[in-house]
Amino acid sequence: MKEYVDTGKKDTRSGFGAGLAELGNTNPKVVALTADLKGSLKMDAFAAAHPDRFFQAGIAEANMVGMAAGLAVGGYIPFIGTFANFATARVLDQIRQAVCYSKTNVKIAASHAGITLGEDGATHQTLEDIGLMRMLPEMVVINPCDYNQTKAATIAAAEWKGPVYLRFGRPSVPNFTPADQKFEIGKAIKLNDGSDVTIIATGHLVWESIQAARELESRGVSVDLIDIATIKPLDKEAVIASARKTGKVVVAEEHLIAGGLGEVIAGVLATACPTPMRFVAIDDKFGQSGKPAELMAAYGLDAAHIVEAALSF
């Protein structure tokens, strides 16, 4: 098993903030908007350095999406930042018409995604956003796993021509991917070569999957481990090749089973290479208040549950 070292816990949203700040200095076309969540989205550095290119939209997300679309029509690259629930479900029709159908170059930066939002509870813990966003034609869906990857993905999103949904989270989590990485949209990241079972993970579940793979290896199970940071467009070849090799696939994500990465993978494998699968995800229910770690355990989203799933074939 390849070694992955946590260089210190950091929140993925700060990775977004760092990426945005860098873009502010390197790309004069990048602008940013927030719906009263500048601090939570870590957009302060960009806003302070480029006040002319930063717009406070207030608690009015629908209008923010529209303003971003208009800025994109005018040739700018807007990043809109708010919590994942308000960045997707609340404004689905605005994203559908003004962004995706109109092919405007808008980047949706969504923080506090998933159950690790924690204490605020189910109203804010969106577990449907990947499904909502991946259903929209034209939309790219990225769910990076740590600070470094989120920063790199933010920079890649600005270079991509077209709508991008960038999903990240609130809590501090291990930072273990390379600081100098170049993020390639649509490319799976192979974390370990193995032969007995495939584990495919996205977002916060990638680190959990690395822990699970270590545990499985100690029990003599060889794991093919893939980080799917880009859920759409999916790197189908990487997924199919791994499924052909191991014949067993576990998909782990901080999302509902409905609409999530597991269903995406199942859809690909059903036609290309039917493979027994297990889903480490939440099955058709809302979250609740609690600490991130205890919620992840209670809802079956930690390393222990991934190990269990991998051994259940």
């Binding site: 002319d52 939209a57 800025l71 029509v73 700018y76 807007p78 605005q94």
Partner: protein, 281 residues
């Protein structure tokens, strides 16, 4: 040959009625109420031409239609202004056409810069486009047309607040205040109330004018130009009549989204002079 505004508007109204008749669907009522205002905007007010038009609006005035269902009036004006062949109007709402039921950018129809149809969104987009002009040092103006019924959408008032807050004073928004929507009058359906005091309360500079009188329309647009750059967004409330120009369609919600029969179309044609030549069907 130079046509008068009245001649152009008459031909545009013929186009609208003939398009929705041929398509056996579409929205003639609001298209007819917005015809005169938009005719003036496209032929006299905006400095953009088919040659200088770009989706980005860079270097020219820019128009957004928020009430996408009145696509017939937009398509007719774009064709009559030379953005695409007039004969293409015959493809309205047909399979494979660039003239989708509601405006789309997917098939690259010149003159259309944003999809519209789901209501309440275009004002926000226009604000963003106006901010883009401000950022890039482009002194041209962004225009947007919304419906009065459309103003029941909450996003319109989010946008109203945002435009004033950001001092978007290179934007001229317009409301087609014809007092009709699908289910009845705007008062019966939603109690729309006094739009002037509402927009003023949101910090806008409001102009009211008769939207069927070219002298009044010219004056209102000139006044809007005078108010540009003064720190407030400008709203022109156009007093209009749904279905204006065809007696049996005028002043009622019945023709919001209904196509006439062949006989009714013929009756309408008797009331509207053919000035620029009908497109072939």
């Amino acid at each position: 040959m130079e046509y008068t505004l009245e001649q152009i508007a008459s031909q545009v109204r013929r186009d609208i009625v003939r398009m929705v008749t041929a398509a056996a669907s579409g929205h003639p009522g609001g298209s007819l109420s917005a015809t005169d205002v938009l005719t003036y905007l496209f032929f006299k007010e905006m400095n953009v031409t088919p040659e200088t038009w770009r989706r980005s609006g860079e270097g020219t005035d820019q128009f957004f239609l928020s009430a996408g269902h009145i696509s017939p009036v937009l398509y007719s004006l774009l064709a009559r202004r030379g953005y695409f062949p007039v004969e293409e109007l015959a493809t309205f709402r047909r399979f494979g056409s660039r003239l989708q039921g509601h405006p789309s950018i997917e098939r690259g129809l010149p003159g259309v810069n944003q999809a519209a149809g789901s209501l309440g969104q275009g004002l926000s987009v226009a604000i963003g486009a106006a901010l883009a002009k401000r950022l890039s040092g482009d002194s041209n103006t962004v225009y947007v047309l919304i419906g009065d019924g459309e103003s029941e959408e909450g996003q319109i008032w989010e946008a109203a607040m945002a435009a004033a807050h950001n001092k978007v004073d290179n934007l001229v928004a317009m409301t087609d205040w014809n007092h009709q929507q699908i289910d009845g009058t705007t008062e019966e359906v939603a109690g729309l109330g006094n739009l002037r005091t509402k927009w003023e309360a949101f910090g806008w500079s409001v102009i009211e004018a008769d939207g069927h009188n070219f002298t009044a329309i010219e004056k209102a647009f000139a006044e809007a130009r005078n108010r540009k750059g003064l720190g407030n967004p400008v709203m022109i409330l156009w007093h209009t009549e749904m279905g204006h120009g065809v007696d049996f369609m005028a002043g009622t919600c019945k023709w919001h989204g209904k196509n006439p029969s062949a006989e009714q179309c013929a009756e309408a044609m008797k009331q509207l002079e053919e000035t620029m030549g009908d497109f072939a069907l």
